[in-house]
């Protein structure tokens, strides 16, 4: 676009001319430029320079045919030299001054009028005055001046430059100035007059068009162009567009009809004019936001002209021209306002709707590049055809562009003057060829394609970008810039390879092959050649793609075979890799071996595919397994492999297969002596046929045995290292997916072909050592559980043994209690490994330095000393349960059966054991009142709530506390002592006995319950009295464990002063017929008189004396005793008469329990001394 002159690229701006008073020119021109639309101005300092304005030429002779279509400088003349309006500027001093000055003013004005009249240029008169002098300006003279200038009053302006408000008014505002001589500002006046000028000129030319009083089409085009330009000056875009359109059509019609010039030059001229018209129209449409129209028109116009290639020797000019059209259009599209760029994809616009890409500059850049490439091709052809271009070279400089657009002539020096002479077509062709020869377009093509490539890439159109990339790479290739070309070709080839576009891939690979020749890279050359040779056949390729397939030549089978042979000749070192451009040669030899690696994603997988399958999934160490190696190649010719090496992850298993047909070659090439060598009858890879080789394999090492590589050696210096694949996981190449070929299975056994794996599991050797975990039943919470672990050798010696211990929660909840995640203390760990104690090493040397011992709460590691066959060793694990939880104990022993071979794998023995953690003893408690005593506790009566289970104890009264210990484990326990540790001071309550060591340990069998009675006398009246904690010391009923303490905290109790206490007293036994006393004592501990109602029921077994029913008053803090005399009438255990005591105040009654009212009646006094020994 930069090639176009400035006046074409920018919108036309009206031109004015300022004459006289040069000191105000800067002010005025700056103002005119700042307005919208701006007005350009030619500044002439005085009237003597009037001649600068070109005078009007005499009109053309109508009979004479026009010399050309448009004059090259016509537009620029109107933009820069011929003003539409002239502003004559006079000083007010000259106008109003002495007659000499006035006369001069009049003369200047007359001269000016005379010079502009011919061109019909408009006139404005400015009188410059000073603010102070403005009143001195003679109105008469002003009037005379206007009349002399023959202008309207509005076209005479009094100009006051030294007064800002006046100046502004004068310059732009449409208000009357200081004198009513002028109504308008300068810019408005100039703009209006310029518009009038351009309109008049346009009309003048248009009238010629309408009259059609001309014969040649050239004039029609010229007139249309001029009227359009005048319309553009007036900013009448629509008319301009219409006339450009007319001109364009007229121009198209001229092709082949006009005979004015030699045909070649005529077409060049027509295209040059078309280009300008075209540019103008595209600019107008695009800047007007009509992108869709611009695109549609562009396509139609270029379609019109695309076929106008012209004479065969200058076809290149046509393609250059077309390329320029596309490039300029792309630039316009790029620079036009982004707001205007809307893509109406869904609108149904005619059948010629632009495609999505036609809205992108990248599309046009790409086509521009492709036409430029076309130009290059044609130019090269034209140059090769013309032999005498060189002869014209010297005179090419004398050819210049002539006055008419698109015409060239020869400039001759004749008698100190230059004259131009028209060229013949032959001369022009020579000139064009010489010019074409001077410029190299490759870099421009690359730049255009790069722009396009980047734009497409950023739009995520990778395929379109790849096509651009391909064209770009071809251009680099033609420049012998192989490294750049290779880089792009590679990325393009990747795409075609991935999507399986064969012919495209073939062509790209052909280029890559040549690039590798250029860079003397034999490895690349062989790789690309092999890939090409392995591509599938394409139907009909020989016919349709016979021309211009790049260096690859047509993708025929013979070409494939040729490439195959070339590659192997280079690989075997039989021929050199020659590069025509670099004049260098490269040969594969022992100093420069070739090593190709083929992995799962390599394109060369089709060249050589290696599948390896073990026949068994597992094998014992030292046991034999069969392995099948299947190789397949899609190369068109059979390939004979000299040697195959199969490599495993266990390098001892590697083996070599030599070709039985070539024993002499195989023998020299064994890489690692000592390895197994097999000989196959022949190692020939036929096209698309599996070469299957089956051998035994043996591994002594346990673990995974995997085949990694299959390495094929062909010739002394060529190696193909192919990564082994499992048949089960084999993916077919996308290139071969839809090919019509015979599909065979890689291994004869179809099951193995579908499921075969390239890896096998070698089992571990059978361990010959026992690992014994002695469990002594469940563990008890609190104790350190001892678990003996014994390692006993049966058939293996143990060396470098290591014992690993893991404690795992059976339920998977973890061994930490939930709240204990942060604080890692022993309380929070449910079960922990505390210690591992082991016997002293049995071997004499027993270096302690290599002894490992590592203990963590749930993990332990300990080294096992070396043991000879038959020996044993044991250790004891000390595990502590803090909470009842079952755990799984995993113990694993790893050892070496032989000490002298560290490369051997360790043998592992695993044992596990589930251990329950149980609570040893369950402690419970119960409060009891003393026999036949009942205190009245009001709170106890009131507390009816079921939830409140807090026991109530009577203050200062004795209460019995019974602690029951139940053995909930499965082993007998020995109870050693029991104590109650009071938490508060003994003032609060008295506990008897505080501690008791059992003189003989009490053996508590599983499920048995042991009870111990304590007495408690609360001393403080309080709620929530803390009694204390029961501590029970116990041990397992076996001597080897230490004693454990189990604690049990007694719940809090409420203590209350009893209001009344009822004590029933009677002897423990009686004798038939012997009376005894039965008394009920009621103790009132309150400060009030208590009314007590007391009754007694009759009993058949007794004769009773005393009140049956009575109400009595018990004085405060005193006791009342009701006494009955009873004579038993029956024998045995008899129920005493039931006494009921009711406190009237508290509405509380007491009926002693049945159990407390039993007495045993003997028939006679027994002959035993019932008295205690001390009573005698």
């Amino acid at each position: 676009m930069e090639d176009f002159p400035e006046e074409l690229r920018t919108p036309p701006v009206a031109l004015s001319c300022l004459i006289g008073c040069p000191d105000v020119h800067p002010l005025i021109t700056a103002h005119l430029h700042s307005q919208q639309p701006p007005i350009n101005a030619i500044a002439l300092p005085d009237f003597s320079k009037i001649s600068m304005i070109p005078p009007k030429k005499p009109s053309r002779d109508p009979s004479e045919p026009p010399a050309g279509i448009i004059k090259r400088d016509w537009f620029s003349k109107h933009r820069t030299r011929i003003p539409a309006v002239v502003a004559a500027i006079f000083s007010s001093r000259d106008v109003s001054g002495d007659p000499v000055h006035w006369l001069q003013v009049c003369t200047d004005l007359d001269k000016l009028k005379a010079s502009i009249r011919g061109r019909n240029i408009k006139l404005v008169v400015l009188v410059v005055t000073k603010w102070n002098d403005k009143d001195n300006t003679s109105e008469e003279r002003i009037l005379a001046l206007r009349k002399r200038a023959e202008i309207d009053s509005k076209n005479l302006i009094i100009f006051v430059p030294d007064h800002e408000p006046e100046l502004q008014q004068c310059l732009s505002r449409q208000v009357p100035l200081i004198v009513p001589l002028s109504k308008f500002g300068l810019w408005t006046v100039l703009g209006e007059l310029a518009n009038t000028y351009y309109r008049d000129e346009g009309r003048r030319v248009r009238s010629r068009l309408e009259k059609k009083n001309y014969t040649s089409m050239e004039l029609h085009v010229r007139y249309c162009f001029k009227v359009a330009i005048y319309a553009e000056f007036r900013r009448d875009w629509l008319e301009a567009l219409k006339l450009y359109e007319d001109a364009y059509h007229a121009l198209r019609e001229m092709v082949g009809t006009s005979t004015r010039m030699p045909p070649i030059q005529r077409l060049v001229e027509i295209k040059a004019v078309a280009e300008q018209l075209h540019f103008k129209m595209s600019t107008l449409l695009q800047h007007g936001g009509k992108v869709l129209e611009a695109i549609t028109w562009f396509r139609q116009r270029t379609a019109n002209y695309r076929k106008l290639v012209g004479a065969p020797e200058v076809i290149f000019l046509h393609w250059e021209w077309l390329s320029r059209q596309y490039m300029v259009f792309a630039q316009l599209l790029e620079t036009s306002s982004p707001n205007a760029l809307h893509v109406p994809s869904t609108d149904p616009v005619a059948e010629e709707k632009p495609t999505e890409w036609e809205f992108h500059p990248a599309y046009y850049y790409q086509l521009a590049a492709s036409y430029l490439k076309e130009k290059n091709t044609c130019l090269e052809f034209a140059l090769s055809m013309s032999i005498d271009v060189g002869a014209f070279d010297g005179s090419a400089e004398s050819v210049v562009a002539s006055a008419y657009l698109g015409q060239y002539s020869r400039l001759l020096e004749h008698e100190d003057a230059f004259i131009t002479q028209p060229l013949t077509d032959m001369e022009y062709v020579h000139y064009a060829l010489a010019e074409g020869k001077r410029f190299k377009d490759s870099f421009e093509i690359i730049a255009l394609l790069k722009k396009s490539f980047e734009a497409y890439s950023s739009s995520k159109a990778e395929r379109t970008a790849a096509y651009c990339g391909l064209q770009m790479a071809r251009e680099y290739f033609s420049l012998n810039d192989f490294s750049n070309a290779k880089q792009i070709f590679d990325s393009v080839a990747n795409l075609y390879r991935r999507e399986g576009w064969l012919l495209s891939l073939w062509e790209v690979l052909g280029y890559l092959r040549e690039c590798s020749k250029g860079t003397s890279s034999a490895k690349d050359f062989i790789e690309y050649s092999l890939e090409m040779a392995s591509l599938p056949e394409t139907t009909g390729s020989s016919e349709s793609f016979s021309k211009d397939c790049g260096p690859a030549e047509p993708a025929t089978s013979s070409q494939r075979e040729k490439i195959h042979k070339e590659a192997f000749e280079v690989a075997r070192g039989e021929s050199e890799l020659n590069s025509d451009e670099q004049n260098s040669a490269f040969k594969v030899k022992s100093d420069y071996p070739i090593y190709l690696e083929i992995d799962l994603i390599s394109p060369l997988r089709v060249t050589l595919l290696a599948l390896v399958a073990f026949h068994q999934p597992m094998v014992k160490p030292g046991g034999q397994s069969l392995i099948t190696i299947s190789l397949r190649s899609q190369l068109p010719i059979n390939v004979e492999i000299d040697q195959l090496e199969v490599q495993f992850n266990q390098s001892e298993c590697n083996f070599i297969i030599t070709n039985g047909q070539k024993p002499q070659i195989s023998s020299i090439d064994i890489v690692q002596p000592g390895h197994r060598v097999e000989t196959a009858p022949d190692l020939v890879l036929a096209t698309n046929k599996w070469l299957r080789l089956t051998y035994d394999i043996k591994s002594d090492l346990s673990g995974k045995l995997e085949c990694i590589y299959v390495i094929a050696r062909i010739g002394p210096n060529f190696t193909i290292c192919c990564r082994a694949e499992s048949p089960a996981l084999m993916n077919d190449s996308p290139l071969w997916k839809f090919e019509n070929r015979l599909e065979t299975i890689p291994i004869k056994d179809p099951g193995l072909a579908l499921s075969g794996q390239k890896a096998i599991q070698v089992e571990e050797p059978e361990p010959q050592v026992d690992l014994i975990l002695d469990s002594s039943g469940p563990a008890l919470v609190g104790e350190s559980f001892i678990l003996p672990v014994t390692v006993a050798s049966r058939g293996h010696a143990v060396h470098s043994g290591e014992l690993k211990i893991n404690l795992v929660d059976t339920r998977g909840g973890g061994l930490l209690s939930p709240r204990g995640e942060e604080s890692f203390s022993s309380d929070n760990i449910h079960v922990e490994l505390v210690d591992i104690s082991c016997d002293a090493p049995q071997d004499k040397s027993g270096a302690p330095s290599d002894k490992i011992q590592k203990i963590q709460p749930s993990f332990g590691l300990i080294s096992v000393p070396s043991l000879d066959m038959g020996e044993s060793w044991s250790c004891k694990l000390k595990i502590k349960w803090n909470h009842p939880k079952p755990i799984m104990l995993y113990v694993s022993l790893g050892y070496l059966p032989q000490s002298d071979d560290p490369s051997l794998q360790k043998v592992h023995v695993h044992k596990s054991l589930q251990i329950e953690g149980k609570i040893a003893v369950a402690i419970s408690h119960r409060y009891m009142l003393p026999f036949r005593q009942d205190p009245l506790l009001l709170s106890k009566l009131k507390s009816v709530s079921e939830t409140d289970q807090t026991p109530y104890l009577a203050l200062n009264e004795k209460t019995l506390l019974i602690i029951s210990v139940k053995n909930s484990s499965e082993v007998p326990l020995r109870l050693l002592s029991m104590s109650i540790e009071t938490e508060e001071k003994s003032v609060a309550c008295t506990v008897q006995p505080q501690q008791e060591e059992f003189r003989e340990a009490i053996v508590n069998m599983p499920g048995e319950e042991f009870k111990k009675v304590f007495t408690i006398i609360p001393k403080v009246n309080s709620t929530k009295l803390k009694i204390g904690t029961v501590s029970l010391r116990w041990e397992r009923d076996s001597n080897d464990t230490s004693s454990q303490v189990t604690k049990y905290r007694l719940p809090d109790v409420n203590v209350e002063l009893p209001l009344l206490a009822v004590t029933v007293e009677c002897p423990p036994h009686a004798f038939l017929g012997n009376p005894f006393l039965y008394s009920v004592k009621i103790l009132n501990q309150t400060e009030m008189l208590q009314e007590i109602k007391c009754s007694i029921s009759d009993s058949q077994s007794f004769v009773l004396s005393g009140p049956h029913s009575d109400t009595m008053l018990v004085l405060p803090r005193s006791a009342q005793v009701l006494t009955y005399m009873l004579v038993p009438l029956g024998l045995g255990s008899l129920q005493l008469p039931r006494v009921t005591v009711v406190s009237m105040r508290y509405s509380a009654g007491l009926q002693p329990s049945t159990a407390s009212l039993l007495v045993f009646v003997y028939p006679t006094k027994p002959h035993v001394d019932l008295k205690p020994p001390g009573d005698a």
Partner: protein, 127 residues
């Protein structure tokens, strides 16, 4: 009227599975080898446009000078339950220079029908 045309069937994973020069003139020499490249590049637009319209026939979707790419996209998402994976979202692409839109459309429909028939042969074994 002599015309140039290159026809291709492209599978759903963008691999060409059939190609034929179907024009009445065998080749326009210079551009003949470019047909694959042009059709391949046009896949970019096809993959964008195919999901924005319910039409199967996408006419003149890309242009290269006088040559125009028209595409017929098979309704993969409808057929996928019934037909084999082989026919899902297959694109029939034609690079042509003639403007006979109806002819091209009916050509596509005919090919599509034949293609479905050919692809469904395997079902006869099941019946």
């Amino acid at each position: 009227m002599a015309s140039t045309a290159c026809f291709m069937i492209v599978s759903k994973n963008d691999i060409p599975i059939y190609e034929a020069e179907v024009g009445t003139v065998p080749k326009k020499e210079d551009a003949a080898h470019q047909h694959q490249f042009i059709l391949h590049a046009a896949l970019d637009i096809v993959q964008d446009t195919a999901w924005t319209t319910s039409a199967m026939f996408l006419k003149a979707i890309d242009r290269f000078n006088d040559l125009v790419v028209s595409v017929y996209v098979t309704a993969g998402h409808i057929l996928s339950f019934v037909m084999s994976d082989f026919i899902i979202h297959t694109r029939l692409m034609l690079l042509h220079d003639s403007r006979n839109e109806d002819g091209i459309k009916s050509f596509f429909q005919e090919v599509h029908e034949l293609y479905i028939k050919a692809s469904s042969v395997m079902f006869y074994n099941l019946i």
